[in-house]
């Protein structure tokens, strides 16, 4: 509750500071202070202190898991703005407007982590999506940005329509929008419930870009300004996953037998499409777009394993993946072009930056002592505990191996190919900021449980 109220207020404050406060540095500082306030307000609620203690008539429930996920999202956004603030103010005329949109999106994120009613699910998804359409098209003069925005907008609202039909069919079958676990004794319209759930499943797959509904992802991620791609591929996507898990960890029973057919199909096709297509990309940005589809396949494992281990795993995976992606995209922003040739010889000219990029890419690939290893370990472990067949694990491992190939292609371009990197002027502090992310990744790679100890006390 605190997070929802405070983030909406902060969004309005940022909107006004767009014309009251001059200077992009000041606006960035206000945004960072605002995020700090938001984190404090959210932690206060975890310790039982409310700004407004309002009875939400069970529209929202605040679980420890959701509140903690909120804290992580706010922390990630803090790191994101801290690193990319200067880059954001280069796009458009009013940086503070973009910060306002970030706060509104965080409001949507906090609804998505705490909803208990399909109405709030719909509202949360829309609050998250509509600012994303704006951010995608924020580079108004660029035709790529325009194309990405219109594609994202049309596809996004199309999937919203499908989500709404699903919600309506569930309402028609059960007479309520609440997420109740289907009971054995009560007679529901079985067909309408299943049809509704499958439509919601499709729409949520759309939002997190899982395979049969992934086709918008490469174009949109490629066309949007790289700073905003970084936010879209990490925090916005992870929030979608939290919502996805909240619905289906209780509701999958209503699908019965067919759930065990649909989910492995989606997981395997996501892994297949993401990894195999990423191998053939020349542009690093497009490669990262496909790799984010592949990572979504791994995050879907949390849906399969419905245990506390899966919940811990999704938190770890989302933090590690977001940190590493924010890092790689932050390096990519400083490149003059997106092709892999731009990285040639980076190891000689910028040794520290090249080393940090290597850490990020190793983490995405899941190499031990970086966080990505334990993230993948928790995911695989949770599906094994949930009783999935060994074949699913083997398929996942094969695709994880394929992903090493295209991540290491960039490392190879940096260290083993002679050439001049097409990189912009870089000040020292930027590299130091990135090394903070790398250190966090290494810490999580050694002590992953540091992240969720706080979940329990």
């Amino acid at each position: 509750m605190n997070a929802i109220i405070v983030s909406a207020l902060l969004g309005v404050i940022m909107m006004f500071s767009s014309w009251c406060v001059k200077g992009e540095r000041t606006q960035k500082t206000i945004a960072l202070i605002g995020l700090f306030v938001l984190i404090v307000a959210n932690l206060a609620q975890m310790n039982g202190w409310y700004v407004v203690n309002y009875d939400t008539k069970s529209m929202l429930t605040f679980s420890r898991f959701g509140l903690y996920a909120n804290t992580l999202f706010f922390g990630l956004t803090f790191i994101y703005i801290w690193i990319n603030g200067e880059e954001i103010s280069k796009i458009g005329n009013h940086a503070a407007d973009f910060y306002a949109l970030f706060f509104f999106m965080l409001c949507g994120v906090s609804v998505l982590t705490s909803f208990d009613n399909l109405l709030m699910l719909f509202i949360g998804i829309e609050i998250l999506s509509i600012p994303l359409y704006i951010l995608t098209g924020s580079d108004k003069k660029s035709l790529f940005s325009n194309e990405a925005a219109i594609k994202y907008f049309l596809m996004g609202s199309f999937s919203t329509g499908i989500l709404l039909l699903g919600i309506t069919l569930i309402y028609g079958a059960t007479g309520s929008f609440h997420l109740t676990i289907p009971q054995a004794g009560v007679k529901y319209e079985q067909f309408m419930t299943s049809a509704g759930l499958i439509l919601i499943f499709a729409a949520m797959n759309f939002k997190v870009s899982a395979a049969p509904f992934h086709f918008w992802t490469p174009d949109v991620y490629d066309g949007a300004p790289t700073v905003f791609t970084s936010f879209m591929a990490t925090i916005a996507k992870a929030a979608g996953f939290i919502a996805f898990i909240t619905i289906f960890q209780t509701q999958y029973k209503a699908l019965g037998y067919s759930w065990g057919l649909i989910l492995p199909f989606v997981i395997i096709s996501t892994l297949l499409v993401g990894n195999v297509t990423a191998v053939f990309q020349r542009s690093v940005k497009r490669m990262l777009a496909y790799s984010s589809i592949a990572q979504a396949g791994f995050m879907l494992f949390a849906l399969y394993g419905t245990s506390t281990l899966a919940n811990e795993g999704i938190l770890l995976y989302m933090v590690v993946y977001s940190l590493a992606s924010i890092g790689v995209f932050a390096v990519l922003i400083k490149m003059k072009e997106n092709s892999i040739e731009a990285f040639h010889g980076l190891g000689k000219s910028h040794p520290l930056l090249a080393f940090l990029t290597t850490v990020f890419l190793c983490s995405l690939a899941g190499i031990p002592i970086t966080g990505g290893f334990f993230a993948k370990y928790y995911m695989i472990n949770s599906i094994l505990l949930a009783g999935a067949g060994l074949w699913l694990v083997i398929v996942a491992m094969v695709f994880a191996t394929i992903s090493v190939y295209y991540y290491f292609k960039v490392i190879q371009a940096m260290y083993f190919v002679e050439g001049h990197p097409a990189i912009m002027e870089l000040d020292k502090t930027y590299t130091y900021k990135l090394s903070v992310i790398a250190i966090l990744l290494l810490i999580l790679g050694v002590f992953p449980s540091l992240l969720f100890n706080y979940l329990y006390f």
């Binding site: 035709l143 049309l154 329509g161």
Partner: protein, 111 residues
Amino acid sequence: MPIQYYIYLCLALFSIGVTGVLTRRNAIVVFMCIELMLNAVNLLLVAFSKMFHGLALASDATTTVGIEGQVFVFFIMVVAAAEVSVGLAIIVMMYRNTHSVDINFLNRLKN
């Protein structure tokens, strides 16, 4: 009228919307088809709401069962309006740069 008629009507409207989105090439028309999908859902929600209300009226004359379906319709209308304002802005931005609203024109990102 039986509820089935409403379900068939709404699913037909929804399918017309989906077909339009998938086949038309004018951004405005695609957008109209998405609105058609949302309004088909609105109609279905109101029909279900009346159905549950009517069932509950038989036992209790002052019941408010089924009201939440109609409240949902208002939320959909508000969110759709917000989406329209953003979407039309994006379409206008595209028109300024390309002097066309044809989405076939948008294929630069493919290769």
